[in-house]
């Protein structure tokens, strides 16, 4: 188990999580998340990156028990605080949602009830989670709108979601989330489709809230620039597997997994010529290295099929930095099936 350097109890611990969906015909289960393990520690912002379809959203939905049927968690555990969310009943899940962990979504305007006024939507969160009465909740909603930086909160409180801009809607969602007071925030691509300037504001808001409340943030994004700016650690997923995880500086400077290197190589950086990961090396599907006396190869997941490989494991490459790699057996030795 890879631990971060802060030695306090993690906010969330995901162990060997696997999620699958049935196909159209309904006779086969297609895995979308396979054997993913990582922790989210107190007071940290951890980024979860990967292309669409890599399983990042499904992983995060599973933390709140929101895997949409017919998909289901097929293995593993997710510990939020002390409780295992996998297999928990609705009542238990409801206690966790909002209070322990909350989520903001990609498309904030469609995440709001189109027929309910903004003020009412925030208010009902206060009524449920803080037990307030209607009047108090209404007041707190206005205060919250102000807090998340919305000008003219009274007007916004009386408006409907379609009247808000994307940025404002996301602020409202952040406000609703903060109203719950969770220990863990999962932000699923919160700024996709927003202006770059608005993006920056939203992240500012999130980091502000995080700093105030010591909330942990699991930030799902495909934007490595944002990760570099805001996150402490980053985890990389490819095709349902977690392939690398570690502190941001470490990963950005010494990426081990070929997929991570490809991602970073695709990102333009002012200090490096575009396309270069390490000068002289071209991106490939494998990267071999040694740890202690073991020989290992990190292989890009889409190359696994062609290259008959051994069962991979998360290997600690450097303190806090782990990579999914396959032990390499010396040539000639057999392996028992």
């Amino acid at each position: 188990m890879i631990q971060s350097t802060t030695a306090t109890a993690p906010r969330a611990r995901i162990e060997s999580l696997s999620i699958a969906f049935p196909n159209e015909a309904g006779d086969r289960l297609i895995p979308v998340v396979r054997d993913v393990s990582f922790t989210v520690n107190r007071n940290e912002i951890i980024g979860l990156v990967g292309e669409s379809g890599s399983g990042k959203t499904q992983t995060s939905l599973a933390i709140l028990g929101l895997t949409r049927p017919p998909g289901r968690v097929t293995g593993g555990h997710i510990y939020v605080g002390d409780d295992d969310v996998v297999g928990m009943n609705e009542a238990g899940l409801r206690k966790i949602r909002g209070r322990k962990a909350a989520m903001i979504f990609q498309s904030p305007r469609t995440s709001l009830n189109p027929l309910m006024k903004i003020g009412d939507q925030i208010a009902r969160v206060y009524m449920r989670h803080r037990g307030m009465d209607k009047a108090t909740a209404a007041r707190e909603s206005l205060a919250m709108l102000r807090k998340v930086g919305i000008a003219g909160p009274e007007r916004v409180a009386g408006s409907y979601p379609h009247q808000l801009s994307g940025g404002m809607a996301q602020r409202v969602m952040i406000g609703m989330m903060v109203a719950c007071g969770p220990e863990l925030l999962i932000a699923d691509e919160p700024t996709t489709g927003l202006d770059v300037t608005i993006q920056a504001q939203i992240f500012e808001l999130i980091t502000e809230v995080q700093a105030e409340t010591y909330m942990s943030v699991l930030l799902i994004t495909h934007d490595l620039g944002v990760v570099a700016e805001t996150c402490h650690r980053v985890a990389v997923m490819q095709k349902g597997r977690m392939v690398e995880i570690g502190p941001v500086g470490e990963i950005f400077n010494r990426p081990v997994h070929p997929y991570t290197r490809r991602l970073l190589g695709a990102m333009l950086r002012p200090d490096r010529p575009p396309g270069d990961i390490v000068p002289g090396e071209s991106p490939s599907d494998t990267n071999s290295f040694t740890v202690g006396d073991r020989s290992l190869a990190a292989v890009s997941v889409d190359a696994w099929k062609e290259l008959a490989v051994s069962v991979p494991e998360m290997v600690e490459f450097a303190p806090g930095h782990a990579v999914l790699a396959h032990p390499i057996r010396p040539a000639g030795s057999k392996v028992i099936a």
């Binding site: 949409r68 909350a102 979504f105 995440s111 009830n113 027929l115 969160v125 449920r128 409907y160 379609h162």
Partner: protein
């Protein structure tokens, strides 16, 4: 576009459509074969009599003039006279409107009250056996011929088991109609405290209502179910869940509210059906409404009455659809405030 612009446009369209409807009804009788002169004159009329009647009916004038006269008359409320009753068609229809209305409302109510909860329940239990059964019920009810179903109900409940009153009209002959307020016997009797009239009128109302209501249930079930399902899988329901709101809160505040909006479209389909199905049901039960009147007109070759009936039904239908569109603008803030 702004609300006002939308309303103006919609009203304009309605007026154009209404004119089109009047013209269409006119064309239906004038252009299609069928000789109203012979009907009125009888087979033994002399040419002079026929000429006189032709003139009287305005059929000697060129078509556009006839059309203009027709439109003029319609706008004045003159739909011609019934050859059977001798009264103006408009009066006849107006007299029978409450009976049709009572039946249509009752059937609509029954269909909605039974159909919507079933559809919602099916959506909440999607994929289960309950869902399958409800869906099958809806398919079955949509395939049932309403006239056959009415006869089956009459056979079972009247002829066989003797529970229902004779399927003739709205009241037994020995009971007097209640004081006329709306013309809807059940309502009027209830409001005036006339218990015997109410129970009698109600007992006569049941079978035709169930006949129509059973068929009408189907679109309500289908729409309630599909709209509930799509709402339940929406982003905002997911977000509401993620905030830890209870299922009850989510169903009532998010799901139902949004699902109901699309139920308005069902209203249009159902009303169209009720206006049409009324003819069949009223005829079977000898229910003295507009539909029964139309059937009598049809069998009696009472062309003015037939024409008047078709025109009236179309006008009602156009206005009802307009009302539904307007209701949408009231309910959905996205349209109202756009």
């Amino acid at each position: 576009m702004s609300l006002r612009k939308y309303l103006i446009r919609r009203l304009g369209l309605t007026i154009v459509t209404l004119f089109g409807v009047i013209i269409a009804v006119f064309l239906m009788t004038r252009v299609l074969p069928g000789d109203p002169v012979s009907v009125k004159a009888g087979s033994y009329a002399t040419p002079e009599v026929r000429a006189a009647i032709t003139k009287e009916l305005g059929l000697d004038k060129p078509l556009p003039v006839q059309l203009a006269n027709y439109i003029k008359n319609v706008l004045r409320g003159d739909f011609g006279d019934s050859t059977r009753s001798g009264h103006p068609v408009r009066e006849d229809l107006f007299q029978r409107l409450p009976a049709t209305f009572e039946l249509a409302l009752a059937a609509l109510f029954l269909g909605a009250v039974v159909g919507i909860p079933l559809g919602i329940w099916a959506a909440l239990n999607r994929g289960s056996r309950k869902d399958a059964v409800i869906q099958q019920l809806s398919i079955l009810s949509a395939a049932t011929p309403v006239f056959w179903f009415g006869l089956v109900l009459i056979y079972l409940f009247y002829a066989r088991w003797n529970i229902a009153p004779p399927p003739v009209g709205r009241l037994d002959t020995n009971i007097d109609a209640p004081t006329d307020i709306t013309g809807m016997y059940t309502f009027d009797a209830l409001v005036t405290g006339n218990w015997s009239a109410f129970s009698n009128a109600f007992s006569h109302l049941i079978l035709p209502t169930v006949t129509l209501g059973f068929i009408v249930m189907s679109p309500f079930i289908k729409m309630a179910r599909s709209s509930m399902i799509s709402v339940l899988s929406s982003d905002y329901v997911l977000a509401a869940k993620s905030l830890g709101l209870s299922n009850r809160e989510i169903v009532w505040q998010d799901a139902l509210k949004n699902a109901m909006v699309s139920l308005l479209t069902v209203g249009g389909i159902v009303l169209g059906y009720l206006l049409a199905g009324n003819v069949l049901v009223e005829t079977i039960f000898a229910w003295p409404g507009m539909g029964f009147y139309a059937w009598n007109a049809l069998t009696g070759s009472d062309y003015d009455a037939i024409q008047g009936f078709v025109l009236t039904v179309a006008i009602i239908y156009v206005f009802l659809n307009l009302a539904i569109d307007l209701a949408y603008t009231l309910i959905d803030p996205r349209i109202r405030l756009a």
